[in-house]
């Protein structure tokens, strides 16, 4: 009989070890899944985790790590602030879309004008788009006590509809031969989020992600607001007595995560994606939830987790083209990772006791 005893303090060692154990378990069970799908498990796992970093074409894939990792880290960092305080923004995908639309719209409004201030304007508008979209669940929660989980999620579907309306209507490329989608911002020099160092994958979104990580770290460890976030998450009643204003905290957490998600969307649409299309969003807003948990809601952890998740995206693409592994397999793989993490987390807060249960 296995029994669980609550630890007086969560184990720090386990908190660090569980993400690694979860990754290992996912590799093993993911390998089994690939074996079921008729692939060589070792080969598939190597393709996903080894090829992008050290394989023959690693020079091409390594920059992709930054390109795919940046939006994940940027979004996850914002989400983690809220998650720490028990504020669940799960509509980052919608905020990401709105940021992209606002950012792209700002640029396209001035097309074909070339000016230095267009890109900064896009950054502001992109962030604003995400911020405003996240303020809807925020304000509703503060004013009416509405559940932010459901509202933020509903707004993802609204944003997706808005996206298709925009790419078929207002933002459609007038020279696009009737195809849905906006003008390609990569061909509009003032609006293009180009690589800062050619061939490195380093674009402004990567820089923003780095800044966000540093800011979040300082906020959480050195600032009063970060302390309020942590207390609210761990002991809501104590936080109230300690004078934390819950409404302001909710608006701050949702607002920040919306802002960062919006920025991520804007950097993506101005750079790697290039244009607003019906389905330019690939689910970073949802994967970022996994990144946030995998990174233990800690800035440094999120940075590492974002890199790992980017790796599975790239490796998944390679596995898709080389081994014919279905795209959905990698999604299952990512979901598995979250499951193992949540399941193994029990070891952080509880001690396993083997042997017969004592008589109470």
């Amino acid at each position: 009989m296995i029994r669980l005893d609550k630890r007086p303090q969560p184990s720090r060692a386990m908190a660090l070890a569980t993400p690694l154990l979860a990754v290992l378990a996912t590799m093993v069970f993911g390998g089994l899944l690939f074996a079921v799908l008729g692939e060589d498990p070792v080969q598939s796992i190597l393709t996903i985790f080894w090829q992008p970093l050290f394989g023959e074409f690693a020079f091409y894939y390594r920059p992709q790590l930054l390109v795919k990792g940046a939006p994940l880290v940027l979004i996850a960092m914002g989400l983690a602030l809220g998650f720490r305080a028990g504020i669940w923004n799960i509509g980052a995908e919608g905020q990401y879309i709105m940021g992209a639309i606002f950012g792209a719209a700002a640029a396209l409004a001035f097309y074909p004008l070339e000016a230095w201030w267009i890109f900064p304007l896009m950054v502001i508008c992109g962030g604003l788009g995400g911020l405003l979209w996240a303020m809807i669940p925020g304000l509703l929660k503060v004013k009416f006590g509405t559940n932010e989980i459901l509202v933020s999620l509903m707004l993802v579907y609204v944003a997706e509809q808005f996206l298709s309306s925009m790419s078929l209507g207002l933002l459609k490329n007038p020279e696009g031969f009737g195809f849905p989608g906006s003008r390609n911002l990569q061909q509009y020099a003032s609006a293009h989020n180009a690589e800062i160092i050619t061939g490195s994958g380093m674009h402004w979104g990567v820089v923003a992600a780095m800044i966000a990580v540093i800011f979040a770290y300082v906020l959480l460890t050195r600032h009063r607001l970060g302390f309020a976030i942590r207390v609210t998450g761990e002991a809501p009643r104590a936080a109230k007595f300690g004078g934390v204003n819950p409404a302001r905290l909710i608006l701050f957490c949702l607002g920040t995560s919306g802002l960062l998600a919006g920025l991520a969307g804007m950097f993506e649409v101005a750079g790697p994606a290039g244009q607003i299309t019906l389905d330019f969003n690939v689910g970073y807003g949802f994967t970022a939830i996994i990144v946030a948990f995998l990174g233990r809601l800690h800035p440094v952890g999120i940075l590492l987790a974002g890199g790992l998740m980017a790796l599975t995206y790239i490796g998944g693409d390679i596995a898709q083209s080389q081994l014919g592994l279905p795209a959905a397999a990698i999604q299952v793989f990512q979901g598995m990772l979250l499951f193992f993490l949540l399941a193994l987390d029990v070891l952080t807060n509880y001690r396993l006791r083997f042997g017969a249960a004592e008589v109470a």
């Binding site: 459901l150 579907y157 994967t287 979901g335 979250l338 949540l342």
Partner: protein, 306 residues
């Protein structure tokens, strides 16, 4: 624009069918939440049910078997949630989100070779002369069996919760798990059963979309219905009959916006398609003030320390 193409009788008849997936999923989730567990994985269980039911129905040629397969599929996925929240004592919000993300991926993987396949059709139930009654006949008495099973499910859940010992125990576990544990009830076992029931209901709701509403398999086809079902449970203040009312409200809006799209109203299609989600938000806002009905232990982790 030609609104006269919208036939009110057909609209009401379609409403009952449009409401069924939400109704099934929300009824299941209601039981789960009354047992004190918040399972945000409804969307994931629905989509897995949708594809599991689709696969079974296509391979056996029987829609009825499909629904059984869907219930099994949803329940099996919910087993993962049972393990995470009841055995490993993980956070319910995170586990539910994980279930949804995992379910969306898993269903896409399972459904790869079923894109474009036509499922066997489920005929309408033959209710004899009842369906020939003017107006009421087509609205109430000319549907497939699942519409009635959904209604029956609401009635059963209502009666069980209100009048039976099992229902009382379930509510006790949901209101105060420590007290229920002290009385000797197996909190975890009861919650596990409730979660499995919720999974089976969500699975059937999903299969109703893939087998009857659409009927076809496409990735992510549940498109947020699972989340609307979750909102509906809050809207219904955890009461079965109000779930029914809410499901018809949402079914009506879904159907009406589809009909308006068909009628060529001046509003662009995308904005009409937003309406069910926006209405959900509005309903949540107007009804959020009263949270007193929420089960006392909702979302809290139970760990018997002695």
């Amino acid at each position: 624009m030609d609104l006269s193409v919208i036939n009110p009788i057909l609209l009401l008849a379609a409403l009952m069918s449009a409401a069924t997936p939400i109704l099934l999923a929300a009824t299941g989730e209601l039981v789960v939440e009354r047992a004190g567990v918040l399972n945000l994985g409804v969307e994931g269980m629905m989509i897995v049910g949708a594809i599991a039911g689709f696969i079974v129905a296509v391979n056996t040629g029987s829609p009825a078997m499909g629904f059984i397969g869907a219930a099994a599929g949803g329940a099996i996925l919910s087993l993962l949630f049972v393990f995470l929240t009841q055995v490993a004592l993980a956070n319910q919000v995170a586990s539910g989100l994980g279930l949804t993300l995992f379910g969306l991926g898993l269903s896409a993987l399972m459904g790869q070779s079923y894109v474009g396949v036509k499922p066997p059709r489920m005929g309408d139930l033959d209710l004899g002369p009842l369906s020939d009654i003017p107006v009421l006949g087509p609205i109430l008495f000319s549907h497939d069996a699942m519409v009635y099973i959904g209604l029956l499910m609401v009635a059963c859940v209502w009666a069980t919760l209100k009048y039976t010992r099992a229902g009382l125990v379930l509510r006790a576990v949901g209101e105060n798990h420590d007290a229920a544990h002290a009385l000797g009830y197996k909190v975890k076992r009861i919650r596990a059963l409730a979660i499995l029931f919720g999974g089976a209901c969500a699975g059937m709701g999903g299969a109703y979309i893939s087998l009857i509403r659409v009927p076809q398999w496409t990735e992510g086809m549940t498109a947020g219905v699972g989340w609307i079902a979750l909102a509906l449970v809050v809207f219904a203040s955890w009461k079965p009959w109000r779930v029914l009312l809410g499901a018809y409200l949402f079914g009506g809006i879904t159907q009406l916006q589809l009909n308006l799209q068909g009628a060529g109203v001046a509003i662009p299609v995308e904005y009409l398609a937003m309406s069910p989600y926006i209405v959900t938000i509005i309903v949540l806002v107007t009804l959020s003030a009263d949270k007193s009905r929420a089960p006392g232990s909702l979302g809290r982790i139970f760990h018997a320390s002695h």
